[in-house]
Symmetry: C2
Subunit: 667 residues, 2 copies
C-alpha cells in the first residue's frame, strides 16, 4: 500500500457542484464542500523501540513526574530531586509564623479528635487502646516529612481498623492469644506498607483506580453499618458478644443476650450519642463551627470519665478502659512475625488493608488538593504512606492513612502545611507521656458512641441516589458492594463489587457499539441515525461507525453485527431490493487501536463483501491502526489505495459519484 | 439542561464569512462552512427497561437468532424452530442423489483418515485404542443431526486428547488404574459437554473469543511439539518413558534410555514418517490431490501391519497394538464417576478440554462457512458439540470436536452436507463390527508417525511471522503461550497467554489514547497533530479527542493527562504565554459510554478550568453519554447550554469569534 491514496476522478463532480452546493443542495447526496478529497497518510514512521518507550511512558509515567527536571542545572536537579522525595524541603524554607499560627490551631483541633478516635479505632481492630495512640504519634511525623498533601490528617481510620481486626480474628483469637494477635497486626501493617510503597515505586498506582466511586460508596456504607453494629457491644454493655461480623449474627447475638444489657451503660451511651450527633449536625450546617464536632469527642471522654470516677460507675456494670501504660512507642521490629503458619494470613491482610487505606488516603489527598488547586502526585503519596506504615510497624503502630473526617476538620481549621500533623503528633506525645492515667476510668460506651458518630458520615445516601440517577449499572455495583459487605464479609463484598466492575469493562470491550450514520441535510456532517432523527441515510451506502478498539475479544462479534446491519439495511425498504446496497463505509475514527484479530476481521469482511459485489471503504483510521493496516497490506495487499478516505463526507461524495444507477430506477 | 442548545450569536460571523470562506480563507481559524451551528440533541427518550432489554439483546443475542421467525405464521414458526434445533431438517428435504454421491466420496475419505487417527489419538490420551474408534462412531451421527456446519468432520482431535490425557495423568496413573482412568475420562467428557452446551444455551459463546488467534497459534505450536515429543516413545521403541510432558523431562528421558532404542522400530518409523510427510507435501502443493495425504495413513497402517505380520516383527522389538475387542460402543453411563476425591479433577479437565475443543470446532466451522459463504451460529454449534459430547460420554466416547485436518480433507473431497459424517460413521461401524482383528498386528510406531504428521500442520510459522509484522504485543502473547506450553504445562501456557491478553485489554481501558487535534488548512477537518503534519493547531484553543469510554478505571488518568496536555500547550511557544489558552475543546465522538466516575471527571475538569479562567467545551457526545450528562446536569447544572457543539469545526469557529484578543497582541 502506498502512503498516498484516494485522489480519484471526483474532481469533475466537485467542480460541477462547486457553485451550487453551499446555497442549497441540488442533489442531497452528491453534496460536497468545495474542498478536494484529502489523503489518509500513515503517521510519521517511528521505530518499535520508540513506540515501546512511548507506550511505557504513557502507562507508568503518565503524569510526567520528571517534567520539572528538564533543562535544569545539575545542582538544581539535586535540589529538585531532594524536594521531590522530601516535600518538607519544599515548604519549610518559606514557612512563616503566620502559617505556624494557623497550623497550631489546626493541629490542636485534630489532636483533640485523634486521641479519642485513636483509642476507639484500636479497640475496633481488637488491639490494646494504647496502640491507637502510638499510631497517632509516629506516622504523622513521617508523613509530615514525606507527604505532599497539605491537608491530610494522618492516623488510624475506622475501615482499615475494622478489616484488620476482622481478617486476623478469623484465624487468631485476640482474647486467647493477645501477643500473637498484636504481632500479626504489626506484621500485616509492615506488609501493607511494603505493598503501598511498592505500588508507588513501581508506578502501579492505577491499581487503586479499579475501586470505583460506586464501589467505594456501597462498601463504605456497608462497613459503617458493620462497625456500628459492633459498637452495640459497648453501647448496650453486653459481655458475651458474637465474634462474627455479619448483620444477622450480630443482631441475633444482641437479642439473645438481653439479660446482659446494662441500663446504666445504655443511658450513658444514649446521652453521649445524642450529644455527639448534635455536635456533628451543628458543624455540618455551619462549617465555620467545625470546632463543635471536633471538640465534642474529647469533651465526651472527659465528661464521661469524670462521671464514672464520681459515681464509681465501674462498679455498676459500666465497663472502663482500665489502666494504660505510660510512655512513648516501644520498638516492635522484633515482633514482626514472618515465619510460621500465619504468613499467608498477614500477606492477605496486608494486601487488603493496604489497598483500602491507600484508596482512602489518596482520595482524601486529591479531594483537598482540588479544593486548594494544587497537585498531589498519586505515586509519590503511595510511597509516603507506604514508608510511614513500614516505620509504623517497627514502632508499635498499626495501619494508618489519611482520615477523611479528621482531614476535613484540619482543612476547616485552616491548616496550611503538614506542620499541623507535627503539632498533633507532639500533642499525642504529651498525652502518652503524662496524661495516660486520666483515661483509666474512661468508659468503653463513650468510645462506642464516638465510633458510631464517626462512621455514620460514611453512609452517603445522596451520592448513591445520584449514581442511581446517572448510571443504573454503577448503582448495581454500589448495592452489591453494600450487600456483600453486610451479609458476606467486608473483603468479599469488596471483591464482588470490583469483579462486577471489571466484568462491565470487559463486556464493553467484547460488545462494542456500532452506529449507523446518516447525513444531516444541508451539511457534510454524519451522525447516528437513531440519535439524530433529522439525519438521512444515503441510498446504496451503509455507513457504520465502530466505537471501540477492535481486538480478539470483539472481532467475532463485530463480524456478526456488521453482517446484521447489512441485512437490516437491505431489508429496510421491504424485501427484494437486495442490490441497492453497493458500498459499506466503516468509520474508524473511534477505533483507537487494532490487533491481528482486528486486521483479520477487516480482511474477512473485505472478502465476504466482495463475494456479494459490495465495496468496503475505510474512513479515518488513526495512526496506530493505519500503521498496522499498512503492515498487513504488505503481506497480501487486501486494501486498495482508493478504499481509504479522510472523512465520511468525502467517502460518500466520491462513492456516490461513481455509483451505478440503483436497480429500482433502471426498471 | 434543555434539549435545545448552542444557538448563539455566531450568525453574524457566519454571514460575514459566507461569501469568502469557501474560496480561500481570509482568516484561517474563523473559516466555517456556510452552515448554521447545529444542535447537539439528546437521543430520543427510552425507558430504563427498554435500554436494559436492548443491552441484553446486544450482549446475548447479537446475532439475532430469532430474526427469521419474525412475521411468520405459527405453523411456520414451529417448522423453523425445529429446523433451528435440528438443522438436518433443513437440508434433508432438499437432499439429492448428486449431493449423496459427493458425500459418499468425502465420507469414505475422511473415514480412511479417522480410523488410524482415532486409534492414535486415543493412545495420545492414554486410553485404549478402541475408544478412539468408538468416538468416531457415535458423535458424528449426533452432529449430523444437530450441527449446522456442512464441512465439519467430527471425531477425536490431537490437542484435546493430549490435554485430557495429561491432566488426568497428573493424578491417576493409566497404567496402574486403567478402569478409574477410563471412568475419569468419560466423566471429564460429560462435564466438557455439559459446559459446552451450557455456554451455547446461556449464549455465553463469546467466552471462547478470549482465546485470541495469537494465543492459539502459540498454543497449538507448543502443543504440537509436546505431542511430537511424546511420540518419541513409539518412534524409538522406548519402553520406560517419562510420565512428564515438559520438553526437558522428555528429552532427558529419551537420551537416558538409549539402550532401549530398537533399530527395527526406528527404521520402520523413519520410512513411514518420510512417506506420510511426502504425501502431506504433495497434497499441500496441489489441493486437488487431497486424497494422497488422506489415504496415506490408512495405507501406512495396512502396509505396516502386513510387514509386521509377514516378518513377525513383534518378536523383534516392534511393539504392536494387540488384540482389540470387536463390536459397537458399550454403554458407559454407569461409568460416570461424580463422587469421590476426583470431582475437582474431572471438572477442571472438562472445563479446559471443553473450551479448547469448542474453540477448535467453532473456528473450523467458521473457516469453512466463510469459504462457502454460509452462516454458522456459534451458540447453536456449541449446543450441538456439547450435546454430542454428553451423549458420547454415555456411549464410551471421549471428547470429540470438529477436527481441522479432517474437515479440510472433507471440504476438498467435495462434501456437501453433514451426510459425509454419517457415511464416515457407518464406515467406522463396519470396521468396529468386522475388521477389528486386522489391527492386531498394527505397530505402535506407525501410529506415532501418523500423529506427528497430523500435528506438524499445527505449527504455523508464517502466521506467527505475520503477527510479528503487524502487532508486536500479539507476538509476545503468542510466544508466551508457546513457551508456557513447552516449559510449564499445556493448561498453564494457555492460562498465561489469556492472562496477558486480558491485561492488554485492561491496560487499553486504563490508559486510553488522547489526541491533540489541529485544523487541516482550507477545510473544516480536524485531525491528530502528531499524525497529520500539515494540520495546524488553533491559537488559544486546545482541541483534545478522547479515544475510549470514560470510566472509573481511567478517569484519574485522563484528568492527569488532560492537565498535562494543557501544560504542554501553554509552554509550547516558550514560557510565560500562560493566558494564551482560553478554551479546551473535548471531542467526545469516540467516547462510546461514560459512567459516574467519567461524569465526575468532566465536572472536576470544568471546575478546575474555571479557576484558571478557561472554558470547557464538549463536542458531539454520543447518545448514551448525552443522556448521562443530562441526568448529572439536573443535579447541579454544571454544563451550560452553550458548551455543547456538534462538530469540532463549529466549536472552533464559534469560540474563535467570541475569543478575547490574545495577550500577546494586546501588548
Amino acid at each position: 500500500m502506498e502512503p498516498t491514496a484516494t485522489i480519484m476522478d471526483s474532481n469533475a463532480m466537485n467542480n460541477s457542484n462547486n457553485s451550487s452546493s453551499h446555497n442549497f443542495p441540488h442533489h442531497q447526496f452528491l453534496e460536497v464542500s468545495s474542498m478536494e478529497v484529502h489523503k489518509v497518510v500513515p503517521p510519521p514512521p517511528r521505530s518499535t523501540a520508540h513506540k515501546l518507550k512511548n507506550r511505557l511512558k504513557e502507562t507508568f509515567f503518565s503524569d510526567d513526574p520528571f517534567h520539572q527536571f528538564k533543562g535544569q542545572s545539575p545542582k538544581r536537579k539535586w535540589i529538585l530531586g531532594a524536594q521531590y522525595f522530601f516535600p518538607i524541603l519544599q515548604w519549610c524554607p518559606n514557612y512563616t509564623f503566620k502559617f505556624f499560627k494557623s497550623d497550631i490551631v489546626a493541629g490542636l483541633t485534630i489532636a483533640s479528635l485523634a486521641i479519642p478516635q485513636g483509642i476507639s479505632y484500636a479497640k475496633l481492630a481488637n488491639l490494646p487502646p494504647i496502640v491507637g495512640l502510638y499510631s497517632s504519634f509516629v506516622p504523622p511525623l513521617i508523613y509530615a516529612v514525606l507527604g505532599s498533601s497539605r491537608d491530610l490528617a494522618v492516623g488510624p481510620v475506622s475501615i482499615a481498623s475494622l478489616i484488620l481486626g476482622s481478617m486476623l480474628r478469623e484465624k487468631v483469637s485476640p482474647a486467647k492469644e493477645p501477643l500473637l494477635f498484636l504481632q500479626l497486626a504489626f506484621t500485616s501493617t509492615f506488609f501493607a506498607g511494603l505493598f503501598q510503597a511498592s505500588l508507588g515505586i513501581l508506578r502501579l498506582g492505577f491499581i487503586i483506580d479499579f475501586l470505583s466511586k460506586a464501589t467505594l460508596i456501597g462498601f463504605m456504607a456497608g462497613a459503617a453499618i458493620i462497625v456500628s453494629l459492633q459498637q452495640l457491644k459497648a453501647l448496650l454493655g453486653i459481655v458475651n458478644f458474637t465474634k462474627q461480623m455479619g448483620v444477622i449474627a450480630v443482631l441475633s447475638s444482641v437479642f439473645q443476650h438481653t439479660d446482659e444489657w446494662s441500663w446504666q451503660t445504655i443511658l450513658m451511651g444514649f446521652c453521649f450519642l445524642v450529644f455527639l450527633l448534635l455536635a456533628r449536625h451543628v458543624s455540618m450546617k455551619n462549617p465555620k463551627l467545625f470546632w463543635v464536632s471536633a471538640g465534642a469527642p474529647l469533651l465526651s471522654v472527659i465528661l464521661s470519665t469524670l462521671a464514672v470516677f464520681v459515681f464509681k460507675a465501674q462498679n455498676h456494670g459500666v465497663s472502663i478502659i482500665g489502666k494504660l501504660e505510660q510512655g512513648l512507642n516501644p520498638p516492635s521490629w522484633n515482633m514482626l512475625h514472618f515465619g510460621g503458619g500465619h504468613l499467608g494470613l498477614v500477606l492477605k491482610t496486608g494486601l487488603v488493608t493496604g489497598i483500602i487505606s491507600l484508596t482512602e488516603g489518596i482520595a482524601v489527598g486529591r479531594t483537598f488538593a482540588a479544593l486548594k488547586d494544587y497537585q498531589v502526585d498519586g505515586n509519590k503519596e503511595m510511597m509516603a504512606i507506604g514508608f510511614m506504615n513500614i516505620v509504623g510497624s517497627c514502632t508499635s503502630c498499626y495501619i494508618t492513612t489519611g482520615a477523611f473526617s479528621r482531614s476535613a476538620v484540619n482543612h476547616n481549621a485552616g491548616a496550611k502545611t503538614a506542620m499541623s500533623n507535627i503539632v498533633m503528633s507532639v500533642t499525642v506525645m504529651v498525652t502518652l507521656l503524662f496524661l495516660m492515667p486520666l483515661f483509666r476510668y474512661t468508659p468503653n460506651v463513650v468510645l462506642g458512641a464516638i465510633i458510631v458518630t464517626a462512621v455514620i458520615g460514611l453512609i452517603d445516601i445522596p451520592a448513591a441516589y445520584l449514581i442511581w440517577k446517572i448510571d443504573k449499572f454503577d448503582f448495581v455495583v454500589c448495592v452489591c458492594a453494600f450487600l456483600g459487605v453486610i451479609f458476606i464479609s467486608v473483603q468479599d463484598g469488596l471483591a464482588i463489587a470490583v469483579g462486577i466492575s471489571l466484568f462491565k469493562i470487559l463486556m464493553q470491550v467484547t460488545r462494542p457499539k456500532t452506529m449507523v450514520l446518516g447525513n444531516i441535510p444541508g451539511t457534510d456532517i454524519y451522525r447516528n441515525l437513531h440519535h439524530y432523527k433529522d439525519a438521512k441515510s444515503v441510498p446504496g451506502i451503509l455507513i457504520l461507525s465502530i466505537e471501540a478498539p477492535i481486538n480478539f475479544a470483539n472481532s467475532t462479534y463485530l463480524n456478526e453485527r456488521i453482517t446484521r446491519w447489512i441485512q437490516e439495511f437491505e431489508t429496510q425498504d421491504g424485501v427484494g431490493k437486495h442490490s441497492d446496497l453497493q458500498h459499506l463505509v466503516l468509520d474508524l475514527s473511534a477505533v483507537s487501536s487494532i490487533d491481528t484479530s482486528g486486521v483479520g476481521l477487516l480482511r474477512d469482511l473485505k472478502n465476504k463483501l466482495e463475494k456479494r459485489d459490495l465495496e468496503l471503504v475505510l474512513v479515518n483510521p488513526v495512526g496506530e491502526v493505519m500503521e498496522k493496516l499498512q503492515q498487513a497490506n504488505k503481506a497480501d495487499n487486501f486494501l486498495s489505495v482508493d478504499s481509504l478516505y479522510l472523512t465520511v463526507g468525502e467517502a460518500v461524495s466520491s462513492l456516490s459519484s461513481k455509483m451505478k444507477m440503483p436497480i429500482s430506477s433502471q426498471v
